[in-house]
C-alpha cells in the first residue's frame, strides 16, 4: 500500500479529533453528573424522565391535598364525636326523666335548662370552622350552616380532593348528612367530564330516599326533648328516647365513615411516598451518570489521548530528504 504524508497527518488529526470528542462527552457528564443532558442522549429515556417529573410535581400536590383532607376529616371526626356525646347526654336525661320514680315536674323543668345548653352546644359544634371555612356547610362554607334555632342553611356539597392520581376523596361531611337520619338530596352531579370523577372513592353522599323512613333531625329532637321536659310530658320524653338513639347511631355511623376515609387516606399517602422513592430511583438510573464509571472512563480516555499525541510524534518521521546530504 502506498502511504503518503497526507494520510499520516490525516490519521493523526482523526485520532485526536475522535479522542477529544469522547473526552468532551465524558467531561460534560462528569461536570453535570448527568448522562442525560440533551434529549438525543437518550430520547426515550428523556420522555420517561419528563413523565416522572410530572408525576413528582403531581405527587407533591397530592401530598398537600392529602394533608389538607386529613385536617378536615380529623376536625370533622372530632366535631361528630362531640355531637354524639351531646346526643348521648340528651338520651341519658331523657332516660332519667322518663320514669315517674326519680323524676317529677320540677326536676324536668330543671334539666330542661341543661338540654337548652346541649342544644346551644350542638349548634356551636355544628358551626365549627377551619380558618374561616365552616366544615359542615357543604359548599356553603362562608356562612354558619346552622342558625340559633337549629335551621340548616348549608347544602349537601361534597368537597372532593384528589389525593392520588384519579383517586378522589370527600374531605367533608355536609351537615345535612350528619344532622339528619334520612337526608334529602339537593345537588345533582352534572354529567359529561364528571363521569368517573367521583367514582373510585365511591364515597358520594348516600341519599337514602326511602319514602317511609322517618327523618330525625338532631336539633329538632333536642328541642322536642326540651319542650317535653318543660311540658312535663312523660310520653313525649319517652318518644324522644328511641329517636335520640337512632340519631346517635347515625353519628356513630358517620364517624365510622370518616374513620375509614382517614384510613384510606393514610394508605394512599404512604403509597405515594413509596412511589416517590421508586420513581426517584428510576429517574436517577435514567438521568444520572455513574460517577465512578465516568471518572474511570475519563482517565482511560486521557491515556488514549496521550497515546495518540505520542504516536503522532512517531508518525511525523524524517523523510528520505534528511538522509540525502
Amino acid at each position: 500500500m502506498r502511504v503518503t504524508e497526507h494520510m499520516n497527518f490525516n490519521t493523526v488529526r482523526d485520532t485526536i479529533r475522535r479522542s477529544k470528542e469522547r473526552m468532551e462527552l465524558l467531561q460534560r457528564q462528569a461536570a453535570t453528573l448527568k448522562k442525560l443532558n440533551i434529549p438525543s442522549d437518550d430520547p426515550i429515556g428523556a420522555a420517561k424522565v419528563l413523565e416522572i417529573r410530572t408525576d413528582r410535581v403531581n405527587n407533591q400536590q397530592f401530598h398537600v391535598n392529602g394533608k389538607m383532607a386529613e385536617t378536615y376529616l380529623e376536625n370533622t371526626d372530632q366535631a361528630l364525636s362531640e355531637l354524639a356525646d351531646i346526643v348521648g347526654r340528651a338520651k341519658e336525661i331523657a332516660l332519667g326523666q322518663s320514669s315517674g320514680a326519680s323524676a317529677n315536674g320540677a326536676t324536668r323543668a330543671n334539666v330542661a335548662e341543661e338540654v337548652l345548653h346541649l342544644f346551644q352546644q350542638a349548634v356551636s359544634v355544628s358551626n365549627r370552622r377551619i380558618g374561616d371555612r365552616y366544615i359542615f356547610g357543604g359548599y356553603k362554607i362562608d356562612k354558619p350552616p346552622v342558625d340559633v334555632e337549629g335551621n340548616y342553611f348549608g347544602d349537601d356539597g361534597q368537597m372532593m380532593a384528589e389525593i392520588a392520581r384519579d383517586v378522589y376523596l370527600s374531605v367533608n361531611v355536609p351537615g345535612v348528612e350528619a344532622f339528619n337520619t334520612d337526608p334529602k338530596s339537593q345537588i345533582k352531579q352534572p354529567s359529561g367530564y364528571w363521569n368517573g370523577l367521583c367514582g373510585p372513592a365511591g364515597d358520594m353522599l348516600e341519599l337514602a330516599d326511602e319514602p317511609n323512613k322517618e327523618n330525625i333531625n338532631i336539633f329538632g329532637e333536642v328541642q322536642n326533648l326540651r319542650i317535653a321536659l318543660l311540658a312535663n310530658d312523660v310520653d313525649g320524653i319517652r318518644n324522644t328516647l328511641e329517636r335520640l338513639d337512632d340519631m346517635q347511631s347515625r353519628l356513630v355511623a358517620m364517624r365510622a365513615k370518616v374513620g375509614s376515609r382517614l384510613n384510606g387516606l393514610q394508605n394512599t399517602i404512604n403509597s405515594i411516598e413509596r412511589q416517590n422513592v421508586v420513581q426517584a430511583n428510576l429517574s436517577s438510573s435514567l438521568e444520572d451518570a455513574d460517577v465512578a464509571q465516568v471518572v474511570s472512563d475519563l482517565a482511560k480516555e486521557e491515556t488514549i489521548f496521550r497515546g495518540a499525541l505520542a504516536s503522532s510524534q512517531k508518525l511525523i518521521q524524517p523523510t528520505l530528504m534528511d538522509f540525502l546530504k
Binding site: R2, H6, M7, P39, R53, A161, N172
Partner: protein, 472 residues
C-alpha cells in the same frame, strides 16, 4: 545514423529527465493541495533510424509522450457522493442541535413543567376555591404556560429564519461554483483539443464538482464531446459544458408540502417549472428543506394541536362553571382556531382582568364548590390527544423525544459518514496522493538519468574529437 544523432539522443534524454524532475518538483510543491493528483511523465522511444552500414535499427532517444495525472475517476465519484452525504448529515446535525436546544427540558423549567404546574394550580384551587391568593397563583401559572407556548413557537420560527438565511447563502455559493465549473469546462476543452491532458485544471474541476455535490443530489457524466454535464437529480441540467443555470430564492405563500407561509422557495433556471423546492433532495439543501418543511412543520403542528386542545377542553368545562361572583359562561382562554393556535393562545380578558372570574364552582353561591377546578385538574390525565390515545403530557413529551430521536439518528449517521469519508480519502490518497519519500527517490533517479544523458553528449563530443583528429 550520423554522429550528430548521438548528440540528439543524449539531448532527448536530458529533456525527458528535466521534465521528470520538474514534474516531481510540481508534485512536491502541491503535496498538500486539496484534490491534487500526483503527475507522471510518460516517455516514449523516439523514431528509430537505421544505423549506417547495417540493417539494424538504432534507437534515437526518448520523447515526452504525455504528462498524466494518477487518478481513479470511480473513487472521485464515490468521494463526491460521500461528501454529499457528509454535508447532508453535518447540516442536519447543526440545525437539529438548535431545535433540540429549543426543546431541551433536561435542565430547566420547560413546557412540561409548566403544564404540570398549570393543572396542579387547579388542584390547589380545588382545595381552597374561596382563597383569592390561590386564584392569583392559578392565573400566574396559566400566564407562564401561555408565555412558554409563545416562546416555543417563536424559537421554532427563529430556527426557520436561520434555515432560510442559509438557503439564501447557499444559492449564491452554488451559482459561483457552477460558473467556475463552466469556465473550467471551456478551458479544459481548449487545452485538450490540442491533444494534451489538462491535469491541473481537471483536478480543479474535480474539487469544484465535489464542492457542488455537497449541496444536493447531482448526476455527473461526460457527453460525446467530452463535456462535463452536471444534472440535478429529478430536475434538470445545472452545468452543460460551457453553460450554467442559475439558482435563486423567493418568498412565497404556504404550500401543501409543508412549506410555511413566508418561507423561501428555491427557484432555478434548470427546470421549466422554475420552483424546485420540493424536488431538491440530499446534500445541504436537502437537509435544510427536510428539517424546515417536515420536521419543524410537524413540531409546530403538534404544538398547535396541544394549544388548541388545551384551550378547548379547559374552556368547555370552565364555561359550565360559576365564577366567584356567580357569573357563568365565562371563558378561561380566548377561543382560537387550530391554525397557529400556539401563537394565539391567550387568557380570556375576563380572567386576565380579575381572578374572581376563574370559575371553580359548578353552581352559584357556593364558595366551597370545587367541582369545576377538580374537573379541569383532571384533564391532565385524560387522553385528549391523538384521537384519545395520549394525554397532553404524553403529547408534549413525545415532541421532545421525537426531536431527540431525530438528533440522535443524525449524530449516528454523521459519525458513520465520517468513517466512510476517512476511508475514501485514504483510498484516494493511496492512488493520487504525493509521497515525499517516493518523490525524493524519483528525484534522485531522474537526476542520475540527467547526468547519464549529459555523459552521452560528452562521449559524443569526444567521439567527434577523435574523428576530427584522424586527419592530422
Amino acid at each position: 545514423m550520423g554522429m550528430a544523432g548521438v548528440f540528439k539522443t543524449g539531448q532527448s534524454g536530458m529533456n525527458v529527465a528535466r521534465a521528470a524532475i520538474a514534474t516531481t518538483g510540481h508534485n512536491i510543491s502541491n503535496a498538500n493541495r486539496e484534490g491534487f493528483s500526483r503527475q507522471r511523465v510518460q516517455s516514449a522511444p523516439n523514431e528509430t533510424r537505421t544505423a549506417a552500414g547495417s540493417h539494424g535499427y538504432v534507437g534515437s532517444g526518448a520523447i515526452i509522450s504525455r504528462i498524466e495525472r494518477v487518478n481513479d475517476q470511480y473513487i472521485e465519484k464515490q468521494l463526491r457522493n460521500g461528501a454529499k452525504d457528509l454535508a447532508h448529515f453535518e447540516e442536519k446535525d447543526l440545525v437539529l442541535g438548535q431545535v433540540e436546544d429549543v426543546f431541551n427540558e433536561m435542565h430547566g423549567d420547560g413546557l412540561n413543567r409548566l403544564i404540570a404546574t398549570f393543572f396542579n394550580e387547579f388542584r390547589r384551587l380545588s382545595n381552597e376555591p374561596d382563597n383569592e391568593a390561590v386564584r392569583q397563583s392559578v392565573r400566574e401559572a396559566s400566564q407562564a404556560l401561555v408565555g412558554d407556548f409563545h416562546r416555543l413557537r417563536k424559537e421554532v420560527e427563529e430556527v426557520r429564519r436561520h434555515i432560510d438565511a442559509r438557503l439564501e447563502n447557499y444559492t449564491t455559493e452554488i451559482n459561483a461554483i457552477s460558473d467556475e465549473i463552466k469556465e473550467l469546462n471551456l478551458k479544459i476543452n481548449i487545452l485538450e483539443n490540442s491533444g494534451a491532458p489538462a491535469n491541473d485544471l481537471s483536478d480543479k474541476r474535480d474539487v469544484a464538482l465535489k464542492k457542488l455535490a455537497t449541496y444536493m443530489n447531482l448526476n455527473t457524466h461526460k457527453d460525446n464531446n467530452n463535456n462535463t454535464i452536471v444534472e440535478i437529480s429529478g430536475v434538470g441540467p445545472l452545468v452543460t459544458g460551457g453553460r450554467s443555470e442559475k439558482f435563486s430564492t423567493a418568498r412565497s405563500p404556504k404550500d401543501d408540502q409543508g412549506k410555511q407561509e413566508g418561507s423561501l422557495d428555491l427557484v432555478s433556471t434548470s427546470s421549466v417549472q422554475a420552483v424546485v423546492t420540493h424536488q431538491i433532495k440530499g446534500g445541504k439543501l436537502g437537509a435544510l428543506l427536510e428539517i424546515r418543511d417536515q420536521t419543524l412543520s410537524t413540531i409546530v403542528d403538534r404544538l398547535d394541536d396541544l394549544a388548541y386542545a388545551l384551550t378547548n377542553t379547559v374552556n368547555e368545562i370552565h364555561i359550565q362553571g360559576f365564577t366567584r361572583n356567580g357569573l357563568t359562561n365565562v371563558e378561561f382562554f380566548k377561543p382560537i382556531s387550530k391554525e397557529r393556535a400556539a401563537e394565539f393562545l391567550e387568557l380570556s380578558d375576563a380572567v386576565r382582568d380579575n381572578v374572581n372570574n376563574i370559575a371553580a364552582a359548578a353552581m352559584p353561591e357556593a364558595p366551597g364548590d370545587n367541582r369545576i377546578a377538580l374537573v379541569i385538574s383532571g384533564l391532565q390525565n385524560m387522553r385528549l390527544m391523538n384521537e384519545g390515545n395520549a394525554t397532553m403530557d404524553d403529547w408534549y413529551n413525545s415532541i421532545v423525544s421525537d426531536v431527540g430521536v431525530a438528533a440522535a439518528k443524525t449524530k449516528f449517521g454523521l459519525n458513520q459518514q465520517r468513517d466512510i469519508i476517512t476511508q475514501l480519502n485514504r483510498m484516494r490518497d493511496q492512488i493520487s496522493g504525493v509521497s515525499i519519500d517516493e518523490e525524493t527517490a524519483n528525484l534522485m533517479q531522474f537526476q542520475h538519468a540527467f547526468d547519464a544523458s549529459a555523459k552521452v553528449i560528452q562521449v559524443a563530443d569526444e567521439m567527434l574529437k577523435t574523428v576530427l583528429e584522424l586527419k592530422r
